[in-house]
């Protein structure tokens, strides 16, 4: 079977903090394109992995970068002994064989890459491959999911209106403190009390968002700190390594954040 390697065998841990699972299932039932919004490290990628497992569909993930072009998504001609051969890109594979295609950090990709998804995301559900003169009709299982972080405070790094309006959206934020502590405890393997402290520390850094920090500590960062702590590192040192130093190079903010963390412990 095609795309076997893209199937998710074991259930990825995901702790829902709202009705996002039900909403996504409804969206998938009508194959509505979905956009996952939210700050980095809040569980967008984990969520889509969980949903792909739940729905039993293969998941093709593409991490977009600023050099990403339409050809990287659709495919390209390669040379072999006989001449050229066409090689499907990840998007085309998903469209042909029926996978959930997840484009992570879509705003990073070049404009031409974001525009080729347009015919896939309306009633047509088509992918034109102009280089081969081919029209690929989407497999019934195909769904497009994109993720983006609206926190990028840059005008050029925003989705075009014509792209945005093709998607339903789920808004992800950091989960409520108790839920987040549960997640940190599960993922990092630390005691619930330690997890709660870490979440409290995380909230301190999120208070500084936009006032010294571009972004507060993500759930992922808290899990990192938790994992260090689980290996016997003192919590303060773990937080310094996993939170303070990666978050900022500004000495004042670092000192303030370190002091706030000390106050939490």
């Amino acid at each position: 079977m095609e795309l076997r390697e893209y199937r998710i065998e074991r259930e990825p841990y995901y702790r829902a903090s709202g009705d996002e699972v039900a909403l996504f299932e409804a969206a998938y039932a009508s194959r509505m394109p979905v956009m996952l919004k939210g700050p980095t490290g809040c569980g967008k990628t984990r969520f889509i992995e969980h949903m792909a497992w739940r729905l039993g569909k293969p998941l093709i993930t593409v991490a977009c970068n600023e050099d990403m072009t339409a050809a990287d998504l659709v495919g390209r001609h390669l040379l072999d002994a006989e001449g050229t051969v066409w090689h499907d890109g990840p998007l085309t594979r998903a469209v042909r064989h029926g996978a959930i295609c997840y484009l992570d950090e879509i705003v990073e990709a070049r404009q031409d890459a974001t525009v080729i998804i347009h015919p896939l995301t309306d009633e047509r559900r088509l992918l034109p491959i102009e280089k081969r003169n081919e029209l690929v009709v989407a497999h019934p299982d195909f769904q497009l999911v994109i993720a983006y972080n609206p926190g990028y405070q840059s005008v050029v790094k925003d989705l075009k209106e014509s792209t945005k309006q093709r998607f339903g959206a789920l808004d992800f934020t950091y989960p409520p403190a108790s839920v987040e502590a549960e997640i940190v405890a599960h993922e990092a393997g630390v005691e619930p009390t330690v997890a709660r402290r870490l979440v409290q520390i995380g909230e301190r850094s999120r208070n500084l968002r936009g006032r010294g920090l571009d972004e507060g500590a993500s759930t992922r960062m808290l899990i990192h700190a938790g994992r260090l702590a689980a290996r016997g590192v003192a919590l303060e040192a773990a937080c310094r390594m996993a939170l303070v130093l990666p978050l900022t190079d500004d000495a004042d903010v670092r000192d303030a954040l370190s002091a706030a963390i000390t106050a939490c412990l």
């Binding site: 072009t69 050809a71 990287d72 390209r76 001609h77 040379l79 001449g83 050229t84 280089k131 005008v155 050029v156 409290q200 909230e203 301190r204 850094s205 208070n207 500084l208 006032r211 010294g212 004042d252 903010v253 000192d255 303030a256 954040l257 002091a259 706030a260 963390i261 000390t262 106050a263 939490c264 412990l265």
Partner: protein, 595 residues
């Protein structure tokens, strides 16, 4: 640690004696403290430095009042802790008050009662804060240095009680201290109640009264040093006495800004009233007299029409000075020269260009593929570079740096580099020298022109360096020789600059206007007239495919920025208040150009 804790006066004398070494100024830690407060409580509370005023000990106590935190403008290292920790402990304590304290009516309360209630309230809010942030105890504890003693002095007993309430390991046999401790911790469940302090404090103050230990409330100072004067706890019928400079402080800060912004206007006013300046002929005796080269229309917003041929541009020679001046400026900070040069080099402006025969790329280069296939069938080794890619490769940009050299550029600005006071013109010259060196090194096409005006018939235009010219010592000498005089008829100068750059065969054309203010001229009383005309000129240039970008030097206030934003568009104005920030700002400029 001494047996008998020093009296406040002694403590303060000690603080002052030690002061010189470990003293830290509020301004040095203000940003850090602000972030600390925000991180902990998610609040942005205004903070003011409280000038130490005379030598009064109160001056070194923090305080809070009406949602404003006052911190001493300098604090020493104390009790083996760095001054930073003292600032932080003070702030954390004040924040606990702001979050958990409620104002009480002070009417009819004796000073002793208020002091004891304040002590209990301090402990109460600290314990509430420590429930959320247990680590705060480690911040506060080192400052509690009171030791048990036989002395029965109220201030001493209170300091010991303060310690007993926060330090679980502290032992004190004194009956009053023990009672206070018991009352406080027995009421643990009532800590949330703001009246708790009033009840417990009332009982304790009564006992203290019976013990006949007096409190000299004139010299009483809340200990330990990180705690505030608790003035913010009480609602007085009459305003409490506070040092007058404290209240004036925020007001002064606000007053300073507009006067700064008004200076250029005032100067122009003076020039208008000066008959010699206004009626000076186009200057036969002037060695820098120029030749009229063009007339430009001006836009009159009042009639909504162009006034054709209204302003005349006179090109004047730029008097040279020594090129050593410019080289000297650059030699002062070679690191900055390198940074600016790197930024300029890194920016790419050109049409995307298709590169063929690449080793890798987005598409196959068909011609190369066919050739490769033919080669192979002929039994030759084919060229593996069969891909094509698109890149922006060249710096297809010409820049005209247009300097405002009006009289107002002779205004002093606050010193950017930590040296002697400087003028806007000197800043302009320095910034231009940096940019020019970088652009010359990168091989860009650029010109440096300067303008000022003396009425609409004499818009003086000087060429420091033209597009075709090399950036040599002669150009540097002319840049160094620029002098600030006359006024700022920006619109006409921009139109002329636009004409100079229009012929440049590049993809992007940029007029970079470096100025200190807004347009004005001696024959235009209506301020808005020249602003509107300049706005129109910027629009005309944009229509001709020339980007106009304004770099404002020296100005800082937001009100100053409104008119330039109106003229050039908000995203085309860059305010550089300190020259060191130029390298930080340049990427913004380039980003806006390429975006």
């Amino acid at each position: 640690m001494s047996e008998v804790p020093p009296r406040p006066e002694e403590a303060y004398a000690r603080i002052r004696a030690e002061g010189g070494a470990g003293e830290l100024h509020f301004s040095d830690v203000e940003r850090q403290l602000r972030h600390f407060l925000t991180a902990l409580w998610g609040r942005d509370v205004p903070m003011r430095a409280l000038s130490a005023g005379g030598d009064a000990p109160e001056a070194r106590r923090s305080g809070f009042d009406g949602g404003v935190i006052r911190l001493p403008d300098a604090l020493p290292a104390l009790a083996g802790q760095p001054a930073e920790a003292l600032f932080r402990a003070s702030l954390a304590h004040l924040a606990a008050h702001l979050i958990f304290s409620r104002r009480q009516l002070a009417r009819g309360l004796k000073p002793l009662l208020m002091a004891v209630v304040g002590l209990v309230e301090d402990a109460r809010v600290e314990h509430l804060a420590m429930r959320a942030f247990p680590g705060l105890r480690r911040l506060w504890l080192p400052f509690h240095v009171a030791e048990p003693s036989g002395a029965l002095i109220a201030a001493d007993l209170m300091e010991r009680l303060s310690r007993a309430l926060i330090d679980p390991g502290y032992e004190d046999a004194n009956h009053w201290v023990a009672k206070g401790r018991a009352l406080f911790f027995d009421g643990k469940d009532q800590w949330e109640d703001p009246d708790f302090s009033l009840r417990v404090g009332g009982l304790l103050a009564g006992d203290l009264g019976k013990m006949r230990v007096g409190l000299n409330h004139k010299t009483y100072l809340v200990e330990p040093a990180y705690r505030d004067d608790n003035g913010g706890l009480w609602e007085f019928d009459t305003p409490p006495q506070v040092p007058p400079d404290d209240h004036d402080l925020p007001l002064e800060a606000m007053r300073a800004e507009p006067s700064e912004g008004q200076e250029p206007d005032e100067f122009d006013g003076a020039a208008r009233n000066d008959p010699a300046a206004a009626s000076a002929p186009a200057g036969e005796a002037d060695p820098e007299a120029g030749v009229p080269v063009a007339r430009y229309p001006e836009w009159d917003y009042r009639i909504g029409l162009q006034r054709p041929g209204f302003a005349r541009v006179v090109e004047c020679p730029a008097p040279p000075s020594s090129p050593a001046l410019i080289d000297g400026l650059l030699a002062r900070d070679p690191g900055m020269v390198r940074r600016v040069a790197r930024l300029v080099r890194a920016a790419k402006f050109s049409r995307p260009e298709r590169l063929r025969r690449q080793a890798e790329g987005e598409t196959l280069d068909l011609d190369a593929c066919v050739e490769a296939a033919v080669e192979r069938r002929l039994g030759h080794a084919p060229d593996p570079r069969v891909h094509a890619a698109t890149r922006r490769r060249f710096r297809d940009l010409s820049v005209l740096v247009l300097l405002d050299v009006s009289q107002s550029t002779n205004d002093p600005v606050s010193d950017p580099a930590g040296g002697a006071p400087t003028t806007v013109l000197a800043l302009e010259r320095h910034a231009t020298a940096l940019l020019a060196a970088a652009m010359a090194e990168a091989g860009d096409r650029f010109a440096v022109h300067a303008f000022c005006s003396n009425g609409r018939e004499e818009v003086r235009y000087q060429r420091v360096k033209d597009f075709g010219d090399p950036y040599d010592n002669a150009a540097k000498a002319r840049l160094g020789g620029l002098r600030g005089r006359y006024s700022t008829r920006m619109g006409t100068a921009l139109r002329h600059a636009g004409r100079q750059i229009a012929g440049q065969p590049t993809h992007r054309r940029l007029v970079l206007l470096i100025t200190d203010g807004e347009p004005s001229d001696i024959d235009s009383g209506d301020r808005r007239y020249l602003i509107e005309d300049t706005r129109k000129a910027v629009g005309e240039l944009a229509g001709a495919g020339v980007d106009v970008f304004c770099v404002r030097l020296g100005g800082t206030s937001a009100a100053d920025a409104r008119d330039p934003a109106r003229i050039f568009g908000g995203r085309n104005v860059l305010t550089v208040e300190r020259l060191e920030r130029l390298p930080d700002m340049l990427p913004q400029l380039y980003f806006r150009l390429t975006a």
